[in-house]
């Protein structure tokens, strides 16, 4: 569904490429996770998809169509993106914030319809924020904000969903419920591309993992392929041990104490 083909991207006036030949494929029905250290190019991947960073080489396609050739509004109907940052200056009720997810579906004088209404209701329910819907955005905790943003992306009803660190600020219960939600969305026939720092959860939920390091794919494949001590130690420059989680059987990363000299 979402395809990055040898993508190279550079921020204006920067000598180094932020992405240098990154290829990945996020198919329908799967969770594709992008992991990597801070500054490895994960968020740049998302910005390149949104056209916020120009591509030097390569192509990004959605359902086979080049992202540069489709209108922004059309793109937003095909892929919903939850960016990492948001700065709402004027408070809005949660319900209205979620309703903004229908923006790419509204055109010209066409009013708010029954389809929009049911999309918003469904998104609020799926994200589990029914109890927040009458609250004002300036009364939300960091975790509540994240879930509202996910609900807004769900209201877009796009076949592909991209999330940039969606579980930052979430406690374990809410973090787990987000991963469970993404998992069920993927099973329901959506392509999920997830940028995350939560290696252990990613190892349990993702179908494939792409490990980025300095703008280059350092490893890619199933969780078992990527979650290897030697690979992670080299990329994260920190001593680690990878064990098998006794409860769930997934690979599990344990960072060791003290930098190895």
């Amino acid at each position: 569904m979402l395809h990055f083909d040898s993508v190279a991207a550079r921020y204006p006036r920067q000598a180094l490429l932020a992405l240098d030949g990154v290829s990945l494929d996020a198919p329908v029905g799967q969770i594709t996770a992008v992991v990597g250290p801070n500054g490895s190019g994960k968020s740049t991947l998302v910005r390149a998809l949104l056209g916020r960073v120009p591509l030097e080489r390569g192509a990004i396609t959605i359902g086979g169509a080049d992202v540069g050739s489709i209108a922004a509004r059309e793109r937003a109907r095909l892929v919903a993106v939850v960016p990492q940052r948001e700065s709402a200056v004027f408070p809005l009720p949660v319900r209205e914030l979620v309703a903004l997810g229908r923006h790419p579906h509204l055109s010209g004088f066409a009013g708010w319809g029954a389809a929009d209404e049911s999309a918003v209701r469904g998104a609020i329910e799926a994200a589990g924020i029914g109890d927040l819907s009458e609250r004002s955005s300036d009364e939300l905790s960091g975790g509540e904000w994240q879930r509202v943003r996910i609900a807004r992306a769900l209201a877009q009803q796009a076949p592909a969903l991209v999330l940039d660190e969606p579980t930052t600020f979430l406690d374990i219960a809410h973090e787990m419920s987000v991963f469970e939600l993404l998992s069920s969305l993927a099973r329901g026939g959506i392509a999920v591309l997830l940028v995350s720092h939560q290696l252990n959860l990613v190892a349990r939920f993702a179908d494939q993992i792409i490990l980025l390091h300095r703008g280059v794919v350092a490893a890619a494949g199933t969780p078992a392929d990527v979650m290897r001590g030697d690979i992670l130690e080299r990329v994260y420059e920190w001593p680690v041990v990878v064990t098998r989680d006794p409860a769930v059987g997934a690979p599990s990363l344990v960072p060791l104490r003290g930098r190895r000299s």
């Binding site: 910005r47 209108a71 939850v82 940052r85 700065s87 709402a88 200056v89 004027f90 914030l97 790419p104």
Partner: protein
């Protein structure tokens, strides 16, 4: 359209109508509301008819257009630049217009329409310079960079004005100062009609971009994620808001505070979405400036207070009551 929208707009329109009628009725010669309505319909005695239709009505209409234009400009700018302190005069519009007007006054321009034209030209030049500065500095149309570019251009314009006025003859100095304090006293129908066209066009463009503006308040990246062409829309709203303000400045000089305070009052009505907010702001802005103009002429007749000072004197207390909810 929500029920709240209909209710709020109906109430604001009623308020505007009441204030507008008092704007025509009150002044050095008070006219009873009944006679105002008769005169508007072409009846009553000729003197009253002339005062109403040739003096007071264009004045009220100009005040309404100036208020509506500045208020819509401020509403669009605060949302697009995501800054509750943004207002049209921060974009260098006022400074540029003042430079144009002051140069025309000091040069001794007396022909009708020269000073407004010079003010408009000055404002347009200032806005273009600000846009160019922002583009050179930021590459992208970043709200903060745009705002800073406007502030810097405005500061430069103010310095230029001081240099020019420091050596101007006393009469020119007085005229220039009066112009900078804003006034709708000399309103005439041609100027009213010209401003009406500008305000209508500006309102149309802002209204048709209002849904994109709703999304832009979330930030550039979330807006891009929702399909808004961020740079294009930001630049367009900036330009149209600035030109809208420039047109009001050329017609009535500097009328401060309207562009800053009215958007906050509009949001305080509880309306959401910028189509609704623009409508509410236009009505509130028109009402505020007409009311300020009435105060300006009835407080110590036959002298008039500067309009720009009165809008600020009314606006500041309103603003203070809203300050708590700004955060």
């Amino acid at each position: 359209m929500s029920r709240r929208f209909v209710l709020v707009v109906a109430l604001l329109a009623l308020l505007l109508a009441v204030v507008a009628v008092s704007g025509v009725a009150l002044g050095t010669i008070a006219i009873a509301p009944r006679d105002v309505i008769a005169a508007l319909g072409g009846h009553g005695d000729p003197l009253t008819r002339s005062v109403v239709r040739d003096l007071r009505l264009p004045r009220v209409a100009l005040a309404a257009l100036v208020g509506a234009g500045l208020a819509m400009s401020g509403t669009a700018l605060q949302a697009t630049l995501r800054n509750p302190l943004a207002e049209p005069y921060l974009l260098g519009v006022s400074g540029g217009a003042a430079v144009g007007a002051v140069l025309a006054v000091v040069a001794g321009a007396t022909a009708a329409g020269v000073v407004p034209l010079a003010a408009f030209a000055g404002a347009v030049v200032a806005v273009i310079v600000a846009l160019m500065v922002a583009r050179a500095a930021g590459g992208r149309a970043d709200g903060r960079v745009l705002l800073m570019a406007g502030v810097v251009v405005g500061a430069f314009a103010n310095a230029a004005i001081m240099v020019v006025l420091a050596n101007a003859p006393p009469n020119a100095l007085r005229n220039a100062t009066w112009w900078m304090m804003g006034s709708v006293a000399g309103a005439e129908w041609p100027a009213v009609r010209a401003l009406a066209v500008y305000v209508a066009i500006g309102a149309g463009v802002l209204w048709s971009n209002a849904r994109d503006v709703d999304v832009l308040t979330l930030g550039d990246e979330p807006a891009a994620a929702l399909g808004v062409r961020v740079e294009r829309t930001t630049r367009l709203v900036y330009l149209v808001s600035a030109l809208l303000a420039a047109a009001t400045v050329s017609a009535a000089g500097l009328v401060g505070f309207v562009g800053l305070v009215v958007p906050h009052l509009a949001r305080a009505t509880g309306l959401r979405g910028h189509r609704a907010l623009l409508a509410a702001a236009a009505l509130l802005g028109a009402t505020l400036v007409i009311a300020a103009d009435v105060l300006a002429r009835v407080t110590m007749p036959p002298a008039e207070l500067p309009l720009g000072a009165v809008t600020a004197l009314i606006g500041v207390p309103f603003f203070l009551t809203r300050l708590r909810s700004l955060r």
